[in-house]
């Protein structure tokens, strides 16, 4: 089985197309990690819009457009006269813009040196509760489920090209399906490891030049999560229990899809079959913060999401959770055991007997 998984991974990951894809991802990630610099350069030749207030509009003849500043009716930077010249802005004003504005103000009779007042009135509230782990579970769930589409399609293609029956002259149908599902998971894992390494490389490059704290400051505007709340043991146990559930769902999808008689029929079925994980997700989401979760977390398939969710809500790993996971594992074993014949018949398209009685 390990050889088969290794063969599949080598075939998919060690080819020109995949290497090219990685290079593109590397470049795109580089672009993303330098986005603040890139945007800065793009906006370098764009003039900053500044407006005059009712109190200053009478001096508009002194405020002529410059290389850096464009005077308009309404803008985020406003020049006001309140006992003294003031500049209101909700963003940091660059030195060049400040110089141009001051230069214009200095031409006004009775000029005194203006002090800019920053009127920054917004800030981000950070998410800091079990919902954070929920976000991780949702990500893992949908990433693996999206990959299952690829694995299922591969099994269907193998079935209709005859490769599946060739494999089944060497290994059992369950071994074959398990290999394909696990291969898909490992492929996803490798892809994300590669992306992580690329991000680290770019971050290191930025750490050297230009200074990385600028990027950090820029990212802070968008980050609404508080990473310090992660409870790693809970997250890990939750993900393991979720993987068992995801495996079950993928297996059932393969079981149904492999009954298709042609690739076209499989494509038609695909739309309906893949609504199953979405349905499970929404059912789980609708009941996770109610009492119903206590009863539904025993139900196979729903367990996939409800068990980790319930674990996050409780906030501690008690022995009973290992019991639930064992239950999930036992159900998976029975599913594999009792459906192995059906799986074999589906993949090989074995017709029922037509011997007259």
């Amino acid at each position: 089985m390990i050889n088969m998984i290794f063969f599949g991974l080598k075939r998919k990951l060690w080819n020109k197309k995949y290497v090219l894809k990685l290079i593109i991802i590397f470049m795109v990630l580089g672009g993303i990690l330098y986005v603040d610099r890139i945007l800065e350069n793009i906006t370098l030749f764009q003039r900053v819009q500044v407006s005059l207030d009712e109190s200053t509009i009478m001096y508009q003849e002194y405020f002529k457009d410059t290389v850096n500043v464009e005077y308009v009716d309404k803008a985020n930077i406003r020049i006001v006269f309140e006992d003294d010249w003031k500049i209101y802005s909700d963003e940091v004003i660059s030195e060049e813009v400040m110089f141009d504005i001051q230069n214009s103000i200095s031409k006004v009779p009775g000029f005194t040196y203006p002090e800019p007042l920053y009127d920054i009135s917004y800030y981000h509230s950070k998410i800091k509760d079990p919902y954070l782990e929920l976000i991780v579970y949702t990500m893992v769930y949908f990433i693996l489920m999206s990959k299952s589409i690829g694995s299922v399609q591969e099994i269907i293609e193998d079935k209709h090209s005859g490769m599946a029956s060739y494999y089944l002259t060497c290994i059992s149908s369950n071994q074959y399906v398990v290999c394909k599902i696990v291969e898909g998971w490992i492929q996803i894992f490798i892809e994300y490891i590669c992306m992580f390494v690329f991000i680290c490389i770019w971050a290191l490059i930025r750490y050297g030049y230009p200074f990385t704290h600028q990027l950090y400051d820029w990212i802070q505007n968008f980050i609404v999560l508080d990473g310090s709340y992660f409870r790693l043991p809970i997250l890990l146990v939750g993900i393991v229990s979720m993987l068992i559930g995801i495996f079950m769902i993928q297996y059932v999808i393969v079981l149904f899809m492999s009954k298709s008689k042609s690739i076209e029929e499989a494509n038609h079925m695909m739309i309906w079959i893949h609504s199953l994980p979405i349905l499970i997700y929404y059912v789980a989401m609708s009941i996770f913060d109610t009492n119903v979760i206590n009863y539904c977390k025993y139900i196979p398939f729903l367990q996939t999401l409800l068990l980790p969710m319930s674990l996050s809500l409780d906030g501690e790993i008690s022995l009973i959770y290992y019991g639930y996971m064992l239950l999930e594992g036992i159900f998976l074993y029975f599913l594999l055991y009792f459906s192995k014949n059906s799986m074999r018949k589906s993949i090989l398209d074995i017709e029922k007997s037509y011997v007259p009685i």
Partner: protein, 213 residues
């Protein structure tokens, strides 16, 4: 000894095998001949356990065939079943290891087989770079890599040139174990087979021994 005892396998189209009985001794080459749809491929699928027997029993050395390890079989299907985008060596390594060839021996076995068929230069090439005939040879190598007790060849000579044909015939004649072969080239039967089973509409029409004197 491989034995088919009253084996029946019928499909909805009323085709398949009906009450077939025949047997073949070890180290013999058996040709299974007949028109299209006479049951040749069904026979092979039943042996490979890719189909279920409706009635009757298939025995190998007096043991039911489904008690046998799948590694006992080598199979060359009628149509090409190869991943075109993978490297020849990778494909052979996979098939060899799946069929139970040890990691130490696999490389040696692959080299031997590729050299036997003058394909050594293609060891690290992609499958799609091989000609149709060479792809057929590759399928045959995949089937014999682990020295199977029962080798099943479904139309193995399709697309082979004269040289390759001779090499395959030489391989079939000199291997140990039972070889079952389905053919449309009737002129080759006498030089390859020890026994010929003629099928018609899923039934055994006749069985003939071939003398090589």
């Amino acid at each position: 000894m491989l034995t088919f005892k009253n084996v029946t396998r019928l499909y909805a189209s009323n085709k398949g095998l009906r009450n077939c009985t025949w047997e073949v001794e070890n180290n013999k080459v058996v040709g299974i001949l007949g028109n299209n749809g006479c049951g040749k491929t069904t026979t092979f699928k039943l042996l490979l356990q890719l189909e279920d027997v409706d009635e009757g029993v298939i025995l190998y050395n007096n043991r039911p065939i489904n008690a046998m390890n799948l590694n006992a079989f080598g199979y060359v299907p009628e149509e090409k079943r190869l991943y075109q985008d993978c490297i020849v060596n990778d494909l052979l390594t996979l098939v060899g290891t799946l069929k139970g060839v040890g990691k130490k021996d696999i490389n040696k076995k692959i080299n031997e087989c590729l050299q036997d068929f003058d394909l050594h230069d293609f060891k690290y090439r992609k499958v799609y770079e091989l000609s149709k005939g060479n792809q057929q040879i590759l399928q045959i190598i995949m089937a014999i890599l682990h020295n199977p007790k029962i080798l099943i060849l479904d139309e193995p000579f399709n697309g082979l040139d004269k040289n390759k044909l001779q090499q395959v015939i030489h391989l079939i004649r000199n291997r140990k174990g039972i070889t079952l072969i389905s053919l449309h080239q009737y002129e080759l039967v006498n030089c390859i087979c020890d026994k010929v089973i003629y099928l018609k509409d899923g039934c055994v029409e006749s069985i003939e021994e071939v003398s090589h004197d």
